[in-house]
Amino acid sequence: MKIENAKYHALDGNKDLPNTSITCTIDGIVHSVPIAEDNEDYAEIMRQVNAGTLTIEDAD
Protein backbone atom coordinates (compact mmCIF):
# COMPACT_ATOMS: atom_id res chain seq x y z
CA MET A 1 0.00 0.00 0.00
CA LYS A 2 1.62 3.25 -1.18
CA ILE A 3 0.74 6.11 1.17
CA GLU A 4 1.88 9.65 0.33
CA ASN A 5 1.31 13.31 1.28
CA ALA A 6 -0.04 12.52 4.73
CA LYS A 7 -1.25 15.49 6.74
CA TYR A 8 -3.33 15.78 9.92
CA HIS A 9 -6.76 17.42 9.87
CA ALA A 10 -7.81 19.00 13.18
CA LEU A 11 -11.40 19.03 14.40
CA ASP A 12 -13.33 21.87 12.73
CA GLY A 13 -10.17 22.82 10.84
CA ASN A 14 -8.83 24.40 14.04
CA LYS A 15 -5.27 23.33 14.80
CA ASP A 16 -5.83 24.15 18.48
CA LEU A 17 -8.36 21.32 18.66
CA PRO A 18 -7.49 17.58 18.54
CA ASN A 19 -6.61 15.95 15.25
CA THR A 20 -9.48 13.83 13.93
CA SER A 21 -8.22 12.51 10.59
CA ILE A 22 -5.27 12.20 8.24
CA THR A 23 -5.57 13.36 4.64
CA CYS A 24 -3.34 11.39 2.29
CA THR A 25 -3.25 9.53 -0.99
CA ILE A 26 -3.37 5.74 -0.85
CA ASP A 27 -2.37 4.09 -4.11
CA GLY A 28 -3.01 7.43 -5.83
CA ILE A 29 -6.54 7.99 -4.46
CA VAL A 30 -7.34 10.78 -1.98
CA HIS A 31 -8.33 9.43 1.44
CA SER A 32 -9.37 11.08 4.66
CA VAL A 33 -8.55 8.48 7.29
CA PRO A 34 -10.01 8.82 10.79
CA ILE A 35 -7.71 8.60 13.77
CA ALA A 36 -9.34 5.42 15.00
CA GLU A 37 -7.74 2.14 16.04
CA ASP A 38 -10.49 0.12 14.34
CA ASN A 39 -9.80 1.60 10.90
CA GLU A 40 -7.64 -0.60 8.64
CA ASP A 41 -6.16 2.38 6.75
CA TYR A 42 -5.17 4.08 10.01
CA ALA A 43 -3.52 0.85 11.18
CA GLU A 44 -1.48 0.72 7.98
CA ILE A 45 -0.51 4.41 8.24
CA MET A 46 0.71 3.88 11.80
CA ARG A 47 2.60 0.75 10.75
CA GLN A 48 4.45 2.76 8.12
CA VAL A 49 5.06 5.67 10.52
CA ASN A 50 6.48 3.28 13.12
CA ALA A 51 8.66 1.68 10.44
CA GLY A 52 10.04 5.10 9.62
CA THR A 53 8.83 5.06 6.02
CA LEU A 54 6.08 7.68 6.39
CA THR A 55 5.80 11.01 8.17
CA ILE A 56 2.62 13.00 8.79
CA GLU A 57 2.59 16.77 8.39
CA ASP A 58 0.99 18.85 11.16
CA ALA A 59 -2.50 20.30 10.67
CA ASP A 60 -2.88 23.86 9.43
Binding site: L11, S21, V30, S32
Partner: protein
Protein backbone atom coordinates in the same frame (compact mmCIF):
# COMPACT_ATOMS: atom_id res chain seq x y z
CA UNK B 1 -42.01 -48.10 7.70
CA UNK B 2 -42.76 -46.02 4.61
CA UNK B 3 -43.61 -42.38 5.29
CA UNK B 4 -46.30 -40.56 3.34
CA UNK B 5 -45.02 -37.16 4.47
CA UNK B 6 -41.70 -35.89 5.70
CA UNK B 7 -41.91 -34.10 9.03
CA UNK B 8 -39.45 -31.56 10.36
CA UNK B 9 -37.99 -34.22 12.67
CA UNK B 10 -36.78 -36.11 9.58
CA UNK B 11 -34.86 -33.12 8.28
CA UNK B 12 -31.75 -31.51 9.66
CA UNK B 13 -32.47 -28.22 11.37
CA UNK B 14 -29.80 -26.53 9.30
CA UNK B 15 -31.78 -27.03 6.09
CA UNK B 16 -34.43 -24.54 7.19
CA UNK B 17 -32.28 -22.21 9.20
CA UNK B 18 -32.41 -18.68 7.81
CA UNK B 19 -29.10 -16.92 7.40
CA UNK B 20 -27.28 -20.24 7.55
CA UNK B 21 -24.78 -19.05 4.96
CA UNK B 22 -22.11 -17.17 6.91
CA UNK B 23 -20.61 -15.75 3.70
CA UNK B 24 -21.99 -12.37 2.59
CA UNK B 25 -22.51 -11.86 -1.15
CA UNK B 26 -21.56 -15.47 -1.91
CA UNK B 27 -23.63 -15.29 -5.11
CA UNK B 28 -21.49 -12.35 -6.30
CA UNK B 29 -24.56 -10.20 -7.01
CA UNK B 30 -23.26 -6.93 -5.50
CA UNK B 31 -20.30 -5.11 -7.06
CA UNK B 32 -20.36 -1.49 -5.90
CA UNK B 33 -16.80 -0.57 -6.89
CA UNK B 34 -16.84 -1.71 -10.52
CA UNK B 35 -17.95 -4.57 -12.72
CA UNK B 36 -14.39 -5.13 -13.90
CA UNK B 37 -10.87 -4.08 -12.98
CA UNK B 38 -7.80 -4.78 -15.08
CA UNK B 39 -4.04 -4.70 -14.62
CA UNK B 40 -4.27 -6.07 -11.08
CA UNK B 41 -1.52 -7.99 -9.32
CA UNK B 42 0.66 -5.37 -7.67
CA UNK B 43 -1.36 -4.89 -4.48
CA UNK B 44 -3.94 -6.51 -2.22
CA UNK B 45 -7.41 -5.11 -2.19
CA UNK B 46 -11.08 -5.07 -3.01
CA UNK B 47 -11.63 -4.19 -6.66
CA UNK B 48 -14.99 -5.38 -8.00
CA UNK B 49 -17.39 -7.82 -6.26
CA UNK B 50 -18.16 -6.75 -2.70
CA UNK B 51 -16.51 -8.73 0.12
CA UNK B 52 -14.26 -10.57 -2.35
CA UNK B 53 -10.67 -9.49 -1.75
CA UNK B 54 -7.62 -10.36 -3.82
CA UNK B 55 -4.59 -11.27 -1.69
CA UNK B 56 -1.18 -10.93 -3.26
CA UNK B 57 2.08 -12.23 -1.84
CA UNK B 58 5.59 -11.22 -2.86
CA UNK B 59 5.95 -9.19 -6.06
CA UNK B 60 5.02 -11.15 -9.16
CA UNK B 61 5.09 -10.29 -12.85
CA UNK B 62 1.70 -11.93 -13.18
CA UNK B 63 -1.27 -9.64 -13.80
CA UNK B 64 -4.96 -10.36 -13.90
CA UNK B 65 -8.44 -8.98 -14.48
CA UNK B 66 -11.14 -9.40 -11.86
CA UNK B 67 -14.70 -9.15 -13.11
CA UNK B 68 -18.28 -9.70 -12.04
CA UNK B 69 -19.47 -11.91 -14.89
CA UNK B 70 -22.93 -12.91 -16.07
CA UNK B 71 -23.74 -16.61 -15.58
CA UNK B 72 -26.11 -18.15 -18.07
CA UNK B 73 -25.42 -21.87 -17.72
CA UNK B 74 -25.70 -22.59 -14.00
CA UNK B 75 -29.17 -23.05 -12.54
CA UNK B 76 -29.97 -20.67 -9.71
CA UNK B 77 -27.18 -18.18 -10.35
CA UNK B 78 -26.85 -15.02 -12.42
CA UNK B 79 -23.39 -13.75 -11.46
CA UNK B 80 -19.90 -15.03 -10.73
CA UNK B 81 -16.48 -13.58 -10.07
CA UNK B 82 -13.99 -14.30 -12.83
CA UNK B 83 -10.21 -14.04 -12.44
CA UNK B 84 -8.40 -13.99 -15.81
CA UNK B 85 -4.64 -14.00 -16.35
CA UNK B 86 -3.51 -11.10 -18.55
CA UNK B 87 0.26 -11.34 -18.00
CA UNK B 88 1.84 -14.74 -17.41
CA UNK B 89 4.50 -15.45 -14.78
CA UNK B 90 6.22 -18.81 -14.94
CA UNK B 91 9.21 -17.82 -12.82
CA UNK B 92 7.55 -18.19 -9.44
CA UNK B 93 9.32 -16.83 -6.35
CA UNK B 94 8.81 -18.65 -3.06
CA UNK B 95 6.53 -16.07 -1.47
CA UNK B 96 4.25 -15.40 -4.42
CA UNK B 97 0.55 -16.09 -4.18
CA UNK B 98 -2.76 -15.11 -5.69
CA UNK B 99 -5.84 -15.81 -3.60
CA UNK B 100 -9.51 -14.92 -3.77
CA UNK B 101 -9.97 -14.09 -0.10
CA UNK B 102 -13.13 -13.71 1.99
CA UNK B 103 -12.46 -12.12 5.37
CA UNK B 104 -14.76 -12.80 8.34
CA UNK B 105 -15.33 -10.70 11.40
CA UNK B 106 -14.85 -12.97 14.40
CA UNK B 107 -18.34 -12.16 15.67
CA UNK B 108 -19.91 -13.58 12.50
CA UNK B 109 -18.54 -17.06 13.24
CA UNK B 110 -19.52 -17.39 16.90
CA UNK B 111 -22.27 -19.86 15.91
CA UNK B 112 -19.52 -22.29 14.85
CA UNK B 113 -18.28 -22.58 18.42
CA UNK B 114 -19.37 -25.48 20.58
CA UNK B 115 -17.34 -24.15 23.50
CA UNK B 116 -14.77 -21.42 24.00
CA UNK B 117 -12.07 -23.70 22.62
CA UNK B 118 -13.87 -26.12 20.30
CA UNK B 119 -15.75 -25.95 17.02
CA UNK B 120 -18.74 -27.74 15.52
CA UNK B 121 -18.37 -29.46 12.18
CA UNK B 122 -18.91 -27.07 9.29
CA UNK B 123 -19.03 -27.23 5.50
CA UNK B 124 -17.77 -24.93 2.79
CA UNK B 125 -19.34 -25.22 -0.66
CA UNK B 126 -18.96 -23.33 -3.91
CA UNK B 127 -19.38 -23.60 -7.66
CA UNK B 128 -16.39 -23.18 -9.96
CA UNK B 129 -15.04 -23.78 -13.41
CA UNK B 130 -11.93 -22.87 -15.41
CA UNK B 131 -10.77 -22.62 -19.02
CA UNK B 132 -9.11 -26.05 -18.68
CA UNK B 133 -8.29 -28.56 -15.95
CA UNK B 134 -7.15 -26.56 -12.92
CA UNK B 135 -6.45 -27.42 -9.28
CA UNK B 136 -7.94 -24.75 -7.05
CA UNK B 137 -7.15 -25.04 -3.32
CA UNK B 138 -9.87 -23.99 -0.89
CA UNK B 139 -8.74 -23.19 2.63
CA UNK B 140 -10.17 -22.02 5.95
CA UNK B 141 -7.77 -20.44 8.40
CA UNK B 142 -8.62 -19.15 11.89
CA UNK B 143 -6.11 -16.55 12.98
CA UNK B 144 -3.19 -18.36 11.28
CA UNK B 145 -2.42 -19.87 14.68
CA UNK B 146 0.51 -22.28 14.93
CA UNK B 147 -0.41 -23.48 18.43
CA UNK B 148 -4.06 -24.28 17.81
CA UNK B 149 -6.06 -26.24 15.25
CA UNK B 150 -6.52 -23.35 12.87
CA UNK B 151 -6.14 -24.45 9.25
CA UNK B 152 -7.71 -26.92 6.80
CA UNK B 153 -7.74 -27.17 3.01
CA UNK B 154 -8.42 -29.34 0.01
CA UNK B 155 -7.63 -29.50 -3.71
CA UNK B 156 -10.61 -29.01 -6.03
CA UNK B 157 -10.23 -30.30 -9.59
CA UNK B 158 -11.92 -27.73 -11.81
CA UNK B 159 -12.92 -28.46 -15.37
CA UNK B 160 -14.50 -26.35 -18.10
CA UNK B 161 -17.97 -27.18 -16.73
CA UNK B 162 -19.57 -25.81 -13.58
CA UNK B 163 -19.26 -28.19 -10.62
CA UNK B 164 -20.23 -27.81 -6.99
CA UNK B 165 -17.37 -28.53 -4.59
CA UNK B 166 -17.82 -29.21 -0.89
CA UNK B 167 -15.26 -29.22 1.88
CA UNK B 168 -16.55 -30.59 5.16
CA UNK B 169 -14.42 -29.86 8.20
CA UNK B 170 -14.95 -32.14 11.22
CA UNK B 171 -15.53 -30.78 14.72
CA UNK B 172 -12.30 -29.82 16.41
CA UNK B 173 -10.85 -29.06 19.81
CA UNK B 174 -8.12 -26.58 20.71
CA UNK B 175 -9.42 -23.93 18.34
CA UNK B 176 -10.24 -20.29 18.80
CA UNK B 177 -12.53 -17.72 17.19
CA UNK B 178 -12.49 -14.38 18.96
CA UNK B 179 -15.75 -12.46 19.36
CA UNK B 180 -14.53 -9.34 17.60
CA UNK B 181 -15.60 -7.01 14.82
CA UNK B 182 -12.14 -7.13 13.32
CA UNK B 183 -10.58 -9.56 10.86
CA UNK B 184 -10.30 -12.97 12.49
CA UNK B 185 -10.74 -15.71 9.90
CA UNK B 186 -10.03 -16.16 6.18
CA UNK B 187 -11.68 -18.29 3.55
CA UNK B 188 -9.10 -18.60 0.76
CA UNK B 189 -9.27 -19.82 -2.83
CA UNK B 190 -5.66 -20.27 -3.97
CA UNK B 191 -4.91 -19.85 -7.70
CA UNK B 192 -1.15 -19.38 -7.62
CA UNK B 193 1.53 -19.98 -4.99
CA UNK B 194 5.28 -20.25 -4.57
CA UNK B 195 7.18 -22.92 -2.70
CA UNK B 196 6.57 -21.25 0.68
CA UNK B 197 2.97 -22.45 0.45
CA UNK B 198 3.17 -25.67 -1.55
CA UNK B 199 5.66 -28.12 -0.07
CA UNK B 200 3.31 -29.80 2.41
CA UNK B 201 0.05 -31.72 2.34
CA UNK B 202 -3.71 -31.16 2.32
CA UNK B 203 -6.11 -31.91 5.17
CA UNK B 204 -9.78 -31.12 5.72
CA UNK B 205 -9.23 -31.71 9.44
CA UNK B 206 -8.17 -28.57 11.28
CA UNK B 207 -4.50 -28.56 12.29
CA UNK B 208 -1.88 -26.01 13.42
CA UNK B 209 -1.01 -23.63 10.61
CA UNK B 210 2.08 -24.50 8.58
CA UNK B 211 2.60 -22.30 5.54
CA UNK B 212 3.92 -25.18 3.41
CA UNK B 213 0.54 -26.94 3.70
CA UNK B 214 -1.66 -24.05 2.75
CA UNK B 215 -1.74 -24.37 -1.04
CA UNK B 216 -0.26 -27.82 -1.61
CA UNK B 217 -1.33 -29.11 -5.01
CA UNK B 218 -2.45 -25.78 -6.47
CA UNK B 219 -2.16 -24.97 -10.19
CA UNK B 220 -0.92 -21.56 -11.32
CA UNK B 221 -3.34 -19.22 -13.04
CA UNK B 222 -0.28 -17.27 -14.19
CA UNK B 223 0.95 -20.22 -16.27
CA UNK B 224 -0.81 -18.86 -19.36
CA UNK B 225 -2.79 -15.83 -20.49
CA UNK B 226 -5.49 -18.27 -21.58
CA UNK B 227 -6.23 -19.13 -17.96
CA UNK B 228 -9.27 -18.09 -15.99
CA UNK B 229 -11.11 -19.29 -12.90
CA UNK B 230 -14.77 -18.51 -12.27
CA UNK B 231 -16.43 -18.92 -8.86
CA UNK B 232 -19.90 -18.34 -7.40
CA UNK B 233 -22.27 -19.68 -4.76
CA UNK B 234 -19.81 -19.64 -1.88
CA UNK B 235 -21.41 -20.91 1.31
CA UNK B 236 -20.07 -21.72 4.77
CA UNK B 237 -22.56 -23.37 7.12
CA UNK B 238 -22.75 -25.40 10.30
CA UNK B 239 -23.02 -29.14 9.75
CA UNK B 240 -21.15 -31.97 8.09
CA UNK B 241 -22.79 -31.66 4.68
CA UNK B 242 -23.72 -28.92 2.25
CA UNK B 243 -27.33 -27.80 1.94
CA UNK B 244 -28.60 -26.02 -1.19
CA UNK B 245 -27.13 -22.56 -1.69
CA UNK B 246 -29.14 -20.01 0.26
CA UNK B 247 -30.26 -17.42 -2.27
CA UNK B 248 -30.99 -14.05 -0.76
CA UNK B 249 -32.89 -10.93 -1.79
CA UNK B 250 -30.40 -8.48 -3.29
CA UNK B 251 -31.64 -5.70 -1.00
CA UNK B 252 -30.53 -7.75 2.02
CA UNK B 253 -27.20 -8.69 0.47
CA UNK B 254 -26.62 -5.07 -0.52
CA UNK B 255 -27.19 -3.82 3.00
CA UNK B 256 -24.89 -6.50 4.44
CA UNK B 257 -22.17 -5.31 2.06
CA UNK B 258 -22.70 -1.69 3.05
CA UNK B 259 -21.53 -2.52 6.56
CA UNK B 260 -18.04 -2.49 5.01
CA UNK B 261 -18.24 -0.19 2.02
CA UNK B 262 -20.54 2.12 0.14
CA UNK B 263 -19.97 4.13 -2.99
CA UNK B 264 -21.84 7.34 -3.74
CA UNK B 265 -21.71 7.52 -7.51
CA UNK B 266 -22.75 10.41 -9.64
CA UNK B 267 -24.90 10.03 -12.71
CA UNK B 268 -24.67 13.66 -13.77
CA UNK B 269 -22.15 16.49 -13.59
CA UNK B 270 -23.79 18.17 -10.59
CA UNK B 271 -25.15 15.33 -8.43
CA UNK B 272 -25.61 16.15 -4.76
CA UNK B 273 -24.14 14.24 -1.79
CA UNK B 274 -25.91 16.04 0.99
CA UNK B 275 -26.90 19.33 2.51
CA UNK B 276 -25.17 21.22 5.30
CA UNK B 277 -24.16 24.63 6.56
CA UNK B 278 -21.24 27.05 6.59
CA UNK B 279 -19.31 26.80 9.85
CA UNK B 280 -17.26 29.73 8.58
CA UNK B 281 -17.09 31.53 5.25
CA UNK B 282 -14.67 29.02 3.73
CA UNK B 283 -15.62 25.93 5.75
CA UNK B 284 -18.70 23.84 5.06
CA UNK B 285 -20.08 20.89 7.03
CA UNK B 286 -22.10 18.11 5.44
CA UNK B 287 -23.79 15.31 7.36
CA UNK B 288 -23.89 12.00 5.52
CA UNK B 289 -26.20 9.32 6.90
CA UNK B 290 -25.37 5.70 6.14
CA UNK B 291 -27.94 3.03 5.25
CA UNK B 292 -26.58 0.77 7.99
CA UNK B 293 -24.19 0.94 10.93
CA UNK B 294 -20.65 0.53 9.67
CA UNK B 295 -18.29 -2.10 10.96
CA UNK B 296 -15.70 0.44 12.08
CA UNK B 297 -14.91 4.12 11.92
CA UNK B 298 -14.78 4.62 8.13
CA UNK B 299 -12.33 6.31 5.81
CA UNK B 300 -13.69 8.94 3.43
CA UNK B 301 -12.40 8.45 -0.10
CA UNK B 302 -12.98 11.12 -2.73
CA UNK B 303 -12.17 11.34 -6.40
CA UNK B 304 -12.96 14.19 -8.76
CA UNK B 305 -14.16 17.76 -8.39
CA UNK B 306 -16.66 18.95 -5.78
CA UNK B 307 -18.35 22.24 -4.96
CA UNK B 308 -20.72 23.79 -2.46
CA UNK B 309 -23.87 25.36 -3.89
CA UNK B 310 -25.28 28.14 -1.75
CA UNK B 311 -27.52 31.13 -2.34
CA UNK B 312 -26.85 31.07 -6.07
CA UNK B 313 -23.10 30.85 -5.55
CA UNK B 314 -20.95 27.95 -6.58
CA UNK B 315 -17.75 27.47 -4.51
CA UNK B 316 -15.17 24.89 -5.61
CA UNK B 317 -14.04 22.58 -2.79
CA UNK B 318 -10.26 22.47 -2.25
CA UNK B 319 -10.30 19.51 0.12
CA UNK B 320 -12.87 17.19 1.61
CA UNK B 321 -12.08 15.64 5.00
CA UNK B 322 -13.53 13.38 7.64
CA UNK B 323 -14.34 15.60 10.62
CA UNK B 324 -16.12 13.30 13.06
CA UNK B 325 -18.29 10.20 13.25
CA UNK B 326 -21.69 10.51 14.87
CA UNK B 327 -24.51 8.38 16.26
CA UNK B 328 -22.46 5.26 16.91
CA UNK B 329 -21.31 4.86 13.33
CA UNK B 330 -24.57 5.80 11.61
CA UNK B 331 -23.41 9.09 10.11
CA UNK B 332 -20.34 11.14 9.31
CA UNK B 333 -19.72 14.86 9.38
CA UNK B 334 -17.48 15.95 6.52
CA UNK B 335 -15.52 19.16 6.30
CA UNK B 336 -14.93 21.07 3.07
CA UNK B 337 -12.39 23.84 2.59
CA UNK B 338 -12.91 26.48 -0.08
CA UNK B 339 -10.76 29.35 -1.30
CA UNK B 340 -13.03 30.91 -3.91
CA UNK B 341 -16.49 32.51 -3.66
CA UNK B 342 -17.38 31.00 -0.25
CA UNK B 343 -20.54 31.45 1.80
CA UNK B 344 -21.82 33.15 4.88
CA UNK B 345 -21.42 31.62 8.32
CA UNK B 346 -24.63 29.87 9.32
CA UNK B 347 -26.11 29.69 5.83
CA UNK B 348 -27.19 26.39 4.36
CA UNK B 349 -25.83 24.79 1.23
CA UNK B 350 -25.35 21.59 -0.69
CA UNK B 351 -22.22 19.54 -1.41
CA UNK B 352 -22.26 18.35 -5.00
CA UNK B 353 -20.13 17.52 -8.01
CA UNK B 354 -18.43 20.41 -9.73
CA UNK B 355 -19.21 19.72 -13.38
CA UNK B 356 -17.69 16.26 -13.03
CA UNK B 357 -19.84 13.23 -13.82
CA UNK B 358 -16.98 10.88 -12.90
CA UNK B 359 -16.61 12.17 -9.35
CA UNK B 360 -17.47 9.86 -6.46
CA UNK B 361 -17.24 9.46 -2.70
CA UNK B 362 -16.56 6.17 -0.96
CA UNK B 363 -17.17 5.32 2.68
CA UNK B 364 -14.86 2.47 3.61
CA UNK B 365 -14.77 0.31 6.74
CA UNK B 366 -13.26 -2.81 5.18
CA UNK B 367 -11.65 -5.76 6.88
Amino acid sequence: MALSTIGTNQISNEVFQANRNLVKNGAMIVAQRAASSTGLGAANGYFTVDRMRMAIGDASAGRFTMAQTAVTDLSGFSKSVKISCTTADTSIAAGERLVLNYRFEGQDLQSLKSSSSSLKAFTISFYARANAAFNLVSEIIFGADTSKNSEANQVNALTTSWQRFTMSVPAATNTQIDDVTTHDTDLMFWMHAGSTYTGGSNSTTLRPNVNANRAAGVSSIFASTSNFVEITGIQLEIGDSATPFENEDIAITFQKCQRYYLKLLSDTAYDSYGSGFFYAAAQFYTTMWFPTRLRATPSLVSSGNFAVMNNGTHSAVDSLAYNRILHDGMCMQTYSDMSTNQGVQGQGGMLRNNNDSDAYIEIKAEL
